[in-house]
């Protein structure tokens, strides 16, 4: 930034052409693969299209169809539930793990790595690992049997009542380590003087947590919230690999419903409209993320 001082004038008037190309090439790549398709996506949501003949403009027809679509309602409710459960639990567990593992001491690297390791697995691999455990003769049922809870045994993924929750657990298993890393960095950034002052004043551990740790973590919380919301709405792989949204749409999310509508039922217009709904849900978070990014780019 100091650079801009004396040489500002000459540069403001004439940026070397190669520098312009440096920006334009990546920008065009993104425009071609993202911005242009996104605009098409919004347009397609107003059409009825089977992918073969030309798209037929139907206005808001797709959206009014959603009102009567039972599966859409299930998928939308599940998506919100997913956001709350997956989001809330991964934030809480991630923060808990970070608090437990914040102090540098012997063995801490191993514990952190253990919790973090699943983050590098693909969601598909994660799903398959858990699918084996969920089988009727799998580990989870065996453990329940062994501790005398045989009555709780279940075909976890095949039962409409449990499939949705059975899908959340692997997703959580993989997400907690990620959130933990974000919180660990946040905890590291808290000035230890604050805790010392609180101790001198006789604050208990709990009071320190409530009045120092939580307020100091506010900016990290905002980051975690964005990450969680964006990740939740993108959640697709784990559901697709475990249940394909079934049985009877009980674990359907908007993302899986959109995919099967578009690429299996070949209702491309309706699928695009579902994608627009996902976009609208994500919009608030995207906007606030960009506002924060703007502030950071400004400073």
């Amino acid at each position: 930034m100091a650079l801009l001082g004396s040489t500002r004038r000459s540069r403001a008037t004439r940026v070397p052409p190669v520098v312009l190309a440096f920006v334009l090439v990546p920008l065009l790549a993104e425009a071609f693969w993202v911005f242009w398709p996104a605009l098409q996506g919004f347009y397609l949501s107003l059409t009825s299209w089977d992918g073969l003949s030309a798209p037929k403009f139907v206005g808001l027809g797709n959206f009014s169809e959603m009102v009567h679509d039972e599966v859409f309602r299930t998928a939308a409710i599940n998506t919100v539930l997913w956001l709350l459960l997956f989001g809330g639990l991964s934030a809480a567990l991630g923060l808990g793990a970070a608090l437990l593992l914040q102090q540098e001491r012997r063995g801490i690297g191993f514990y952190r790595a253990a919790l973090f390791l699943p983050v590098v697995f693909s969601l598909v691999a994660t799903a398959l690992v858990w699918q084996a455990m969920y089988q009727p003769d799998g580990l989870i049922n065996n453990v329940l049997e062994a501790i005398g809870l045989g009555g709780w045994k279940h075909a976890w993924l095949a039962d409409q009542d449990t499939a949705f929750y059975a899908v959340i657990v692997p997703a959580l298993w993989r997400q907690v380590g990620y959130v933990m890393v974000l919180y660990l960095a946040g905890l590291k950034g808290i000035d230890p003087v604050l805790y010392e002052a609180a101790k001198v004043d006789g604050a208990t551990r709990l009071q320190q947590f409530r009045h120092i740790t939580l307020p100091q973590l506010r900016s990290v919380n905002a980051v975690v919230l964005s990450v969680i919301v964006i990740d939740s709405l993108r959640s697709f792989d784990v559901v697709w690999a475990l249940t394909r949204g079934g049985p009877y749409h009980s674990s359907e999310l908007l993302s899986t419903y959109m995919y099967s509508t578009a690429f299996q039922s070949l209702r491309l217009g309706y699928g695009s409209a579902l994608a627009v709904v996902i976009f609208v849900l994500a919009f608030g978070v995207i906007a606030s993320y960009l506002v924060r990014a703007f502030r950071e780019a400004d400073s």
Binding site: F22, A38, I278
Partner: protein, 307 residues
């Protein structure tokens, strides 16, 4: 510093008095260490249990992958192993097509990482080191594109690649992954390059360096920590992707490893040993990257966190 130590010691000394009470009075010189030992033991117990719980599924998949199908069929997938073989890996690798899939994954992942980080570092260099018009708007536009939910792009992207004649080819996957990822990398690298002191660049300008030389010889080497972090991170993201792959590819032999794992799941129903072996193969490259570049990895995740 002294004050810190004093309070820490104080806190530790209070522990045993409060917890163990009079029992410890007999040995006045011992309380601090034993209290600490108790606390340390408690910590290791809880952290150890948590880690064990977290590692259990991984241990289980490793064990399952080395069992025979007959063993699983006879005793159930959740039982103790009664056999040991590496044959399931051969089945997944050869018959299940994982070898081909892993090659496809590498053919997509490596060029995509290089291309997107190359392009992103150029854009970040231009946006952070030159007074371009609308640079902030451009930066946020590019980041915004990356934050879009991919679902809005799926249908148009698959049609676009059909129109270009690259549908069902790895080029399509590379193209969309570069285009979609680049905005985020530009944003992160911009933040990093902005902090490089301007004097270095000014000196180079005085020495007659052109923009390309400044980028290649000065800024890029200085941005190495951020590039390393993003390399580790983007490698796993791209390698682990499923959605883009099944959107622009169709033929089984073209699929990267994540998508082929879903194929394996359908092909080897309830042959959990083969499915487990496939999962191990699919996870091994990213685990290797993680173990080797752990430091960069964690740094990368925090780089992306906008405060």
């Amino acid at each position: 510093m002294t004050a810190t130590h004093a309070t820490t010691d104080l806190k530790d000394a209070e522990g045993p008095a409060g917890r163990a009470g009079p029992a410890k009075v007999a040995a006045p010189r011992r309380p601090a260490p034993s209290g600490r030992a108790l606390r340390t033991a408690g910590f290791h117990l809880s952290a150890g249990l948590l880690s064990a719980l977290w590692l259990l599924p991984i241990a289980l998949v490793l064990v399952t992958s080395t069992r025979t199908f007959d063993d699983i069929a006879a005793h159930g997938v959740g039982s103790w192993p009664h056999s040991f073989t590496f044959d399931s890996f051969r089945q997944a690798w050869v018959d299940g097509g994982q070898q081909r899939a892993l090659i496809n994954s590498m053919l997509v992942t490596i060029p995509t990482v290089l291309l997107s980080l190359g392009l992103a570092s150029m854009a970040a260099f231009a946006l952070s080191r030159y007074d371009l018009p609308f640079r902030r708007v451009l930066l946020l536009l590019m980041l915004g594109g990356n934050l879009l939910p991919p679902q809005i792009l799926l249908i148009p992207v698959s049609k676009l690649s059909e129109m270009l004649g690259i549908y069902d080819q790895l080029y399509a996957l590379i193209g969309v992954q570069v285009g979609f990822g680049v905005g985020f990398y530009v944003f992160v690298l911009h933040g990093f390059m902005r902090a490089i002191p301007g004097e270095i660049q000014q000196a180079a300008v005085i020495d007659g360096a052109n923009p390309w030389q400044i980028y290649w010889r000065i800024i890029l080497p200085l941005a190495r920590p951020a590039l390393a972090a993003l390399t580790a991170l983007s490698f796993t993201w791209i390698f682990n992707d499923l959605l883009w792959a099944i959107t622009v590819l169709r033929t089984d032999t073209q699929m990267p490893i994540t998508a082929s794992l879903i194929g394996l799941q359908g092909q080897y129903v309830s042959m959990w040993n083969v499915i487990a072996a496939g999962s191990v193969i699919a996870a091994a490259p990213t685990v290797a990257v993680f173990l080797r570049f752990q430091r960069y990895f964690v740094a990368g995740l925090n780089l992306g966190a906008v405060k």
